[in-house]
Subunit: 126 residues, 2 copies
């Protein structure tokens, strides 16, 4: 059972419950990767280039080492960021957005555009 992208566009067509669920999975994946309190901030901070652990932490006020460590691991698992370890003293660890990580750009751009328009509409409406 394959769900084609076109199905998203032509939702006049009634989908079966299973097709329906299949369609939601990729959406859920994408949302899971971007949501959470610190993910976007970390991604943004890495857009400026490689950074060390403490550098990221200093760049994001309020983040605890526990959360930073956890989120970086998730980014790594998803191949969005890469971890480099150098055998200096003390040890140096750097993180970098991967090329694949850059592929999030259109998604983030669409979210930003919609979110910005929505702010104007809803908040401006107050």
């Amino acid at each position: 059972m394959e769900v084609k992208e076109q199905d998203l566009e032509n939702l006049q067509v009634q989908l079966s419950p299973e097709e329906y669920v299949q369609m939601l999975l990729p959406l859920k994946d994408a949302l899971d990767i971007l949501s959470g309190k610190w993910k976007l901030q970390i991604i943004f901070s890495l857009k400026f280039g490689r950074k060390r652990f403490k550098e990221i932490q200093r760049a994001i006020p309020g983040i605890s080492p526990k959360m930073l460590s956890k989120e970086l691991k998730e980014l790594e698992i998803n191949e969005l960021a890469q971890r480099f370890v150098y055998d200096t003293k003390p040890i140096t660890v750097e993180y970098e957005l991967t090329d694949y990580g850059q592929s999030l750009k259109p998604v983030v751009t669409e979210l930003y555009k919609w979110g910005a328009a929505h702010r104007k509409r809803i908040i401006g409406r107050g």
Copy 2:
């Protein structure tokens, strides 16, 4: 202090911490509206046209009336769905996606595309 969409594209430029935060707000808004366990399912189910409360509930296995009610209210507040009440016996209530709700389409499409590609990459890699 205004953040332009172009800034998103040209992240070579170093942003100040405040610009940085301003940039995250619309992203957070958009994500908040789409995340949560049932939002997408409700939006999808309404794409097929107007539906009554119980119809939506039957279409989404596992959702409790409490959650459905709560999520529909949020959609209404954000002007993504509209609630129609008819004075029949028993009362009839229908929900419909607004035209504005349709404006989410490009966002959802981008999320879907990226999520689907990501599934192939990460799960296929397993």
